[in-house]
Each structure stands twice: as structure tokens, then as C-alpha cells.
């Protein structure tokens, strides 16, 4: 924090010097300007580093799907996972064949590849 304040003061001072010497000594003005830019750059970088530390990406909830199948017929449905679902949970009557054999056969995360 203290370093950043000192650097800001240096940056403003050298910027002022750069502007005042610009018309008389271009080389010196360039040098002062470089110091000012470097100082500002360092402060900005420091601020961003701290901010990044606080900011944690809060990822959206994962898209988890449940596969519902009937072993008696070809019925297959993929639905969003809901709390209470589990693999081999019996769901009752199949809407297609009318036999009470509908169950969840798999639950998976459907999304981009993670590390």
C-alpha cells in the first residue's frame, strides 16, 4: 500500500516534469514520461492483483442429467437431475408400455471438459 502511494507520487511528479521539459529537452521528457508510465503501470498491476485475489469465479450450477429408461420397451428419456434422484431409483409406470419398470439408469454431468 505504502509502495503504491509513493509510486503514485513519483508518477505524478515525473509526469509533471515530462510535460514541463517536453518543449526544451525531448530526450529528458521521454525519460520522465517512461518513469511515470512504469510507476503507474506498477500501481495498476498491484491493484488488479489484489482485486483478483478477492474475486472468485462463482461458477454456474453444473448441468446434471438423469437417464430414465424402461427395460421392457425402447423408452428412454434424459431429464434434468432433481434432488432425490439416484441411479436405479424406480419411477413407476412407463408411459409407453404401461409396465411399472421405469427407472433411472444413469446420472451424469453434462458440460465442458474440466481440468
Amino acid at each position: 500500500m505504502l509502495i503504491s502511494i509513493v509510486l503514485i507520487i513519483i508518477a505524478f511528479y515525473t509526469l509533471n516534469l515530462a510535460l514541463s521539459t517536453f518543449s526544451t529537452d525531448f530526450t529528458l521528457a521521454t525519460l520522465y514520461f517512461t518513469v511515470a508510465v512504469l510507476s503507474f503501470g506498477f500501481v495498476v498491476l498491484s491493484v488488479f492483483r489484489v482485486r483478483k485475489g478477492y474475486a472468485l469465479a462463482n461458477p454456474a450450477p453444473l448441468k446434471v442429467m438423469s437417464i430414465v429408461k424402461c427395460p421392457q420397451c425402447s423408452f428412454k428419456q434424459i431429464k434434468n437431475f432433481s434432488v432425490g434422484d439416484f441411479v436405479f431409483k424406480k419411477l413407476g409406470m412407463c408411459t409407453q408400455c404401461g409396465v411399472a419398470s421405469l427407472s433411472i439408469t444413469g446420472i451424469y454431468y453434462d458440460g465442458p471438459t474440466r481440468r
Binding site: G53, V64, V83, G84, F86, V87, F88, I107, Y109, R114
Partner: protein, 373 residues
């Protein structure tokens, strides 16, 4: 006035050269005199940033645990003080100066810890059923792990800062990316545990549950379900932890008791588990090997190895590769699809390594959260 410097006066006449000289000197002083300090400062920034992220992650996990306990458990009193006590709980490992019998000591301690943890969670969530208690226990354990990681990292960071030890700081900074990855994985695991979704580690349990589906099941040992079936004319004894609550059971004890029950009749044991892949390997890839495929601190593996050695039974392992993040977050499609391929590999293995009519134990290892039987 510059004449007093003699021939050097010319140099001082040139302000650009003077400035250049000053900057060069400053550079030399800064990088040779304070180079290590600057580097340490840079590392400390990185650790500080990581520590702040860890703090946010552990707070998120704790909030999620608290919210889920309140939603599912419907407690009459505020569970936060009890949760805070659990967050700071610890396990004192047995003395290893005389290692003889240490496995049973470890096993006993882990049993006591498990029972206490479960009872404490049950007290916090009185309305939760047994499967929900198991899920909540897993969730609280994930929060506990995050809290512990944060405390350890903070300890070494502050110690490094206090003692100005660059070696502590360098080690911490080098390990930080892996620690952050693990912490984020635990947070993902917390979300899966809160909703009871199957995780990547449940692959073994999934394979076993596919084998034992619609077969007569019985409970053996602690939280382990066993069912008999046939595969390629072999008698198969499939086992897994009791689901669908978050549970790993005690497969070591179960295999030991099954081997004793079928004294001399079991011709081979096949263990199915998820295993950590190396970077660059594909998720869902299947590998076969020899030995007891089971994680943990080794107590369960010890029991299996001991009994299998006693009865001269070969132990084979079929593993599915995945990363640490994939192992403890909701099961990926590739891992789910690997389940059927694993069954094919097991069929090939038992055809090659056993005779028709033989008895084979197939153990599905892993957390069975979100997987019934």
C-alpha cells in the same frame, strides 16, 4: 562550475548519461541487493491471493453445509455452533514407533471418528433419514477438509512471513496451484453431496450395482451390500457400499468375511475403482492391473491383502482413470459410459483367469452417493 571535475566534467554535462548511470546503479542495487527480497515479495503476493481465494471457497462450502443442514435436517436450534465444533475436529494418529498392530489401531480410531461424526451430523439434522445423514456427513467432511487446508496454508504463510524464510514461501508457492485445484474440487464435491448426485469416485459402486440389480441382496459388515449373480458361467459375488447415501462402507471387512464364509471356494477377486489419472491421460480410460484397488489410508487394503494371501487368491484390479476434480464432482458422461466397458473387461478377465463354475468376488469400490442397488 563543472570544471572542478576535470575531464569527468564532460560526462556530467550530459544529463542523459547521468540519469542512465543512476538507473543502472539503481538496477544493480535493486536486483543484486534486494533481488531475493523482491522475488519473495512476489511469491507472497501469489500466496496471499491464493489464501484469499481459499477463504472464500471454505466460507462458501460452510455456508452450503449450513444451508443444506437447515433445509434437510429442520433443526430446532441453530446448528452453526455445532458445525463450528465439527470444523475444528481432529484425529490423533496412533503411535508408530512400534508399528506392529497399527492397522487395527487405525481402523478402530477411524471407526470411532466415523460414528461420532455421523452422530453429530444426525444431532444437527434430526429430520434427515439415514441416506441424507450420509450425504450431509460427506458435505460436512468436504467443508472440514477445506477449512483444514486453509488453516495449514495460512499457518505456513504467516510462519514464512514471520521468519522471513524464503524456503517456506517458495515451497508454499510451488504447491499452491495443486492445492487450489484440490480446494476447488472439494467445493464442487460439496455441491454434489448437498444434492446427492453421483460423483466420479462412484464408478466402482456403479459397476457393482449394475451386476447386482434385481438380485437378492443382503448386508454384510458395515454398510456393505452383497448380491450373487452369474457371469460367463461363474458364480459372482458382487459387493458395494450401501447407497444411495454418500458412503464408502468397509469393503475390506466385507471381502474378509466373504472369503472366510466361502473358505477356499473363491478363485479370484476383481476390484473395480476410480483411479487418479496422470496429466495428459484421457478421462474414462480403463486399465487392468494386479492388487487391491482401494484408496484411503490403507486399513481396508491391508485386510484384503492379508486374507487373499492367506488363501492364495489372486486379486485383480480394473480401474477407470479420472482427475481429482472429476473424482469428487458429479460423474462425467465419459465415466458413466465407462461402466459398461468395465463389465466387458471383467468378463474377459474372468474367462481368462477362472474356470466355469468358479466363484469370483467383484468388489465395486468408491463412494456410492446417488447410486442405489
Amino acid at each position: 562550475m563543472l570544471d572542478i571535475f576535470g575531464p569527468l566534467g564532460g560526462i556530467f554535462n550530459n544529463l542523459g548519461t547521468v540519469t542512465q548511470l543512476i538507473f543502472t546503479l539503481l538496477f544493480v542495487l535493486l536486483f543484486f541487493g534486494f533481488g531475493q527480497k523482491l522475488q519473495m515479495r512476489q511469491y507472497m503476493w501469489d500466496i496471499d491471493r491464493g489464501l484469499r481465494r481459499l477463504d472464500v471457497i471454505r466460507t462458501q462450502a460452510k455456508d452450503l453445509a449450513l444451508k443444506t443442514i437447515k433445509e434437510i435436517g429442520k433443526p430446532t436450534v441453530d446448528p452453526l455452533p455445532q458445525l463450528n465444533v465439527l470444523m475444528e475436529s481432529f484425529l490423533i494418529t496412533p503411535v508408530d514407533m512400534d508399528p506392529s498392530g497399527i492397522v487395527s489401531k487405525f481402523d478402530h480410531l477411524l471407526d470411532v471418528r466415523d460414528v461420532k461424526f455421523k452422530e453429530d451430523v444426525q444431532k444437527m439434522a434430526p429430520s434427515a433419514d439415514s441416506a441424507q445423514v450420509n450425504n450431509l456427513e460427506n458435505l460436512v467432511e468436504a467443508s472440514w477438509a477445506l477449512n483444514t487446508i486453509f488453516r495449514i496454508i495460512r499457518h505456513f504463510y504467516l510462519l514464512g512471513k514471520k521468519t522471513n524464510s524464503i524456503f517456506i514461501i517458495i515451497q508454499l508457492q510451488a504447491l499452491l496451484p495443486m492445492i487450489m485445484q484440490e480446494a476447488e474440487a472439494y467445493l464442487g464435491a460439496g455441491r454434489a453431496f448437498a444434492e446427492g448426485q453421483p460423483i466420479g469416485d462412484g464408478l466402482g459402486a456403479l459397476v457393482a450395482s449394475k451386476l447386482m440389480k434385481d438380485k437378492a441382496q443382503r448386508k454384510v459388515e458395515k454398510d456393505v451390500i452383497v448380491a450373487e449373480t452369474t457371469l460367463e458361467d461363474r458364480r459372482i459375488i458382487a459387493l458395494k457400499a450401501e447407497g444411495p447415501g454418500g458412503n464408502v462402507g468397509k469393503p475390506g471387512d466385507a471381502i474378509q468375511s466373504l472369503l472366510q464364509e466361502n473358505n477356499g471356494k473363491v478363485s479370484m477377486i476383481v476390484m473395480v475403482d476410480a483411479a487418479l489419472k496422470f496429466e495428459g491421460e484421457t478421462t474414462g480410460e480403463i486399465s487392468e492391473g494386479i492388487g487391491a484397488a482401494i484408496g484411503g489410508i490403507g486399513t481396508e487394503r491391508f485386510k484384503i491383502e492379508q486374507e487373499a494371501t492367506k488363501q492364495h487368491i489372486p486379486v485383480y484390479a480394473v480401474i477407470v482413470k479420472e482427475s481429482i476434480l472429476e473424482a469428487i464432482t458429479p460423474m462425467k458422461k465419459e465415466i458413466l459410459e465407462a461402466g459398461d466397458k468395465v463389465i466387458e473387461r471383467i468378463k474377459n478377465l474372468i474367462v481368462e483367469r477362472s474356470k466355469p463354475g468358479d466363484t469370483v468376488i467383484i468388489a465395486g469400490i468408491g463412494n456410492t452417493i446417488g447410486i442405489g442397488q
